[in-house]
């Protein structure tokens, strides 16, 4: 039986299995999350909400422009 020093010095096999399995697990979880959350309806709701928020920001910006005089650094 080889002693501990020989065991430590013996060449080891390094594989990518652990990494590959971990990545596969992570990606499976990610795909499951996306698949369960993203549907055409959810996408449409998100797009509508984001677009409406942008248009509301534009209206507020227009209000700002109408409400205040322009800033002039030097006159």
């Amino acid at each position: 039986m080889a002693d501990i020093g020989e065991q430590a010095l013996a060449p080891k096999e390094y594989g990518m299995n652990v990494l590959a399995n971990g990545l596969t697990t992570l990606f499976n979880g990610l795909f499951y999350l996306i698949g369960s959350l993203v549907s055409p309806v959810m996408l449409a709701v998100l797009v509508a909400g984001a677009s409406l928020s942008w248009l509301a920001l534009l209206e507020c910006d227009d209000l700002d422009r109408r409400g205040t005089k322009p800033l002039v650094g030097t006159h």
């Binding site: 677009s51 205040t68 005089k69």
Partner: protein, 219 residues
């Protein structure tokens, strides 16, 4: 809610100011000085200027805009839900509410992108998208869906040879196509053609003068 939300009183004091008489400083909305160059300096200055020009009403005006847009969102979702419920029993058209939602969000996305591409027309784009969504898509679509639901239930006892009922049941899904799918296409065309000449409000003479740069603008 941050301290930068409106209300910059006159004589804003620096952070950590101690009143020499020992009186409490600040109160509910503590005065705060945002140093020049701070990340929020521009925003704080904008809000302070708004307060100077509009007073406390400026904030409520903007809150009103946001509440109106929240109401738009809820109306769209609610309308799509009602249409979906009405279509649940209609053979071959079970996804009617989803189509209503998809059409509305497509038009909103077109409006949002159009506001980038045609920034000088953005007020008109906002007016148009409101008119298209609520005037042509949501309310007519929901009305038709309710009518279809009612027609389906009122005529459920009719015989299969009833020509009127058969025609009605066959035609209504096609009529539903009109307010739901067509406005999306037409609105896309409207936004894409925002700068076309035929939309100009100028007289012919004025238009050609401007278009050929004979308007004196080059001097």
């Amino acid at each position: 809610m941050s301290n930068f939300d409106g209300y910059v009183p006159d004589g804003a004091r620096p952070l950590g100011y101690v009143d020499p008489t020992g009186a409490p400083v600040g109160g509910e909305a503590g005065p705060i000085e945002v140093p020049r160059g701070h990340l929020l300096y521009g925003q704080a200055r904008k809000i302070a200027r708004r307060y100077i020009f509009e007073g406390p009403r400026g904030r409520s005006t903007r809150a009103g805009v946001w509440m109106r847009y929240v109401a738009y969102f809820l109306t769209i979702v609610l309308g799509a839900g009602i249409a979906q419920a009405c279509f649940a029993s209609v053979q071959g058209a079970q996804s009617g509410g989803e189509w209503l939602l998809l059409s509305s969000s497509f038009q909103l996305a077109v409006a949002a992108i159009g506001s980038f591409l045609y920034a000088n027309r953005r007020a008109e784009i906002i007016r148009q998208v409101r008119s298209y969504i609520f005037g042509y898509t949501i309310f007519p679509g929901v009305g038709l869906a309710i009518f279809m639901w009612a027609a389906r239930h009122l005529t459920s006892g009719a015989s299969s040879s009833d020509v009127f009922v058969n025609t009605l049941n066959g035609a209504l899904p096609w009529i539903y196509f009109l307010p739901v799918v067509l406005p999306a296409v037409i609105f896309l065309k409207t936004v894409a053609g925002m700068r076309s000449l035929r939309r100009e409000q100028l007289s012919d003479q004025e238009l050609m003068r401007t278009y050929t740069r004979q308007d004196g603008g080059q001097r």
